[in-house]
Symmetry: C2
């Protein structure tokens, strides 16, 4: 089916254009195009079309635990709230939690995300139904012993076989939790497994000072070097957080070609005590993306809000109001500085049709003096009117099918999971 | 006219109640109330009722300059973008800019605000029409010489005479810009003028390190002491920013009973290099409120977003995730820690009916495990369905009359004002 967005405004082009979408790709952009008769026409009057955003690090199903343990210290949060609740999660719970997350993402302009959790078949099913793109990260943790690690391996192997059935929008990904919760042996197993299957690796790294000190004490080296000696650092590796990476680690990451994902809200909320060293990262040409982290530690999945926080904390940390200007922050959130996330962030013929129609008439978008400024500093995801992924319209005028059922299921399941632990 | 909200959910009360509003005040709360026949009934099913938020520091008309000069250094921003544009502003421009701001505030749950700008008759007219409450700050600045100061005095005196005609929701306020832009003589004049007329004072203070150093160099004392010797510090004084106040200044402010307003987004965006010392402020029992600052330096007037940033930066600065828990942040934004802002933030019979109906069914509010957490960390102002001020419904189901005209007027005026300067 061919889709045509009429009267669309593009940044930098003064007159409205038509955008023709065919087979999931942008086919033509221009005026007075020859458009086939059976084309579905969509009026984009008073809308600006921009590329969709990509969430570089989240745990979608954790919407189930939103608000379940805020304003707590990390270890109290994990051991008393999150882990006991997570121990009760079924694949069906994960499916519904991920459904809610996909609705929230579609409503706030996210077209693709990098996920890391358990019960991947539940995640993949929810993503498939949503129409979004996702890298589904198969969690690996062995902090509770050898058996836990073996069980994770089995689940990963099972999902690897299943993954192709979910179609091309869903990619499997291996997601060992962190260097303090996965043994060197299993990290090495992950490196090999990912290589064998040609999939990406994703891990939390250098999120807290304690992680760095513990690594130095236990292994005599900093986290990036520990990962590197286990074959973990290369062009197919995504490192989330990276708040406390020093220059030698950044040099190493740059040489290996790995990608860093910053999660500013999560870092502030958990008070990790540092800010992602964007300036030093960018100076080395390291690929960078933006993530929301999970809804239990943010607690929003709206990347427009994350964008603003990203720009604000970088200005603050660099003590320079010209740091992280709006246009650059937008590029990062569109995935243009992290090719591994799979989004080009470009609107041109031949590119995937992963697009947002933005309502520029909302009060917070007035006056329309500077689109990037308004998107980054004034907007939230609520300015997104229409979300299109691979040429398919996932939301039009902010309506998504099936919201009510998801709301009820998640509420009931969240109450069961968390009440049992409080 | 009596108004009754039926089936309303209140935090801490397990069953839905009715709230009867009469003459701008909450009259009764309960079930099976005797309700007069001519009462306007409003169904609040699936809504939670909370007190409205109060913006402790803004420059409403600066919506006209939203996006006109982002990502710039403070002096470049002021001298090359803001001041030349402001020199062109007419009272009619200020009226329309304030109209847009009131729409944005009503849409995001703000029921009252402290403003500081020029052409106060234009501000007051816009506020009066909007239905909001506001303290309209009469700007005073003399950095360009004696004449400028005299002109400000004349405008202030003229507005003082006019103010009562705008009705009880509008209070005049005297707003000298800052210690570096207003001479000691005129600050003293302001102190006396405010005392004579029984009005409050509002000033930017200790926003940057340079302001403190310059004050030390010029006057041999820190800003709070400079203000105090000019009779400026007392229970009717509101100090905005206060990022770099030291302990001796905080002790003085506590003794004098003045109120501090923190504007976290503005401080981060302008990269002032510090964070509001909430812990030291609260330890002294100093009254504290939250502000958005103007739309040229935020660029949103949504206090729900400001709330989150406030909680996040306090956790970060105090290196403690338990700092500024959600419920406390909400109290501050409701004005419960700053009586001078005029909002009690309490829902009870006899209290002003300044209320919000919150849609708790939005995806970001699911699951409903913890209302305060969801409001602070997950919501934006877009969860506000209905805004009621002094018993009058200013927005119902997110619709406000006259939006389109305001959008067009502000767009045209902003283009004229800013194009001339770029």
């Amino acid at each position: 089916m061919t889709l045509c967005l009429d009267n669309a405004t593009l940044d930098g082009i003064s007159h409205p254009v038509s955008i023709v979408i065919k087979d999931g790709l942008i086919d033509q952009i221009g005026v007075e195009l020859a458009i086939p008769d059976d084309t579905l026409r969509m009026d984009a009057q008073a809308m600006t079309v921009i590329p969709g955003l990509v969430n570089g690090h989240t745990h979608a199903a954790m919407t189930l635990l939103r608000g379940a343990g805020d304003d707590l210290r990390l270890m109290e949060w994990l051991t008393q709230r999150i882990w006991p609740a997570e121990a009760r999660l079924s694949e069906e719970d994960v499916y519904w939690g991920t459904r809610l997350a996909t609705i929230e993402m579609i409503r706030s302009g996210t077209v693709a995300f990098q996920d890391g959790y358990w019960h991947c078949a539940g995640i993949a099913r929810a993503v498939q139904e949503s129409g979004l793109r996702a890298a589904v990260g198969m969690g690996m943790v062995d902090a509770q012993g050898v058996e836990q690690g073996e069980s994770c391996k089995k689940m990963a192997m099972a999902f690897m076989e299943m993954a192709p059935h979910f179609g091309p929008r869903i990619q499997p990904l291996l997601f060992p939790h962190a260097i303090y919760s996965v043994s060197p042996e299993n990290l090495r197993w992950c490196s090999r497994f990912a290589e064998t299957h040609g999939i990406n690796l994703h891990i939390h790294v250098s999120e807290t000072v304690r992680e760095v000190t513990d690594c130095l004490n236990r292994y005599g080296m900093r986290p990036a070097f520990h990962l590197d000696r286990l074959g973990f650092l290369h062009e197919r590796t995504i490192l989330a957080h990276g708040v406390f990476l020093d220059d030698t680690e950044l040099d190493l990451i740059a040489r290996r070609g790995a990608t860093l994902i910053t999660n500013p809200t999560s870092n502030l909320k958990l008070a990790v005590g540092g800010i992602f060293p964007y300036e030093r990262v960018a100076a080395r040409g390291i690929a960078v993306g933006l993530g929301s982290d999970g809804a239990a530690s943010n607690n929003s999945l709206d990347l427009f809000q994350e964008l603003k926080t990203f720009a604000l904390v970088q200005k603050h940390a660099q003590k320079d109001p010209t740091a992280m200007p709006a246009a650059l922050a937008l590029e990062v959130a569109m995935g243009r500085h992290a090719p591994i996330l799979g989004q080009t962030g470009i609107i041109a013929p031949g590119q995937p049709a992963d697009l947002l129609l933005i309502r520029t008439s909302d009060p917070e978008m007035i006056p329309p003096l500077h689109l990037a400024s308004n998107l980054v500093y004034a907007a939230t995801g609520h300015v997104v009117d229409t979300t299109i992924v691979a040429g398919r319209v996932l939301m039009r005028h902010r309506v998504i099918a099936g919201e009510e059922e998801v709301r009820q299921e998640v509420t009931a399941r969240a109450r069961r999971i968390t009440l049992a632990t409080s």
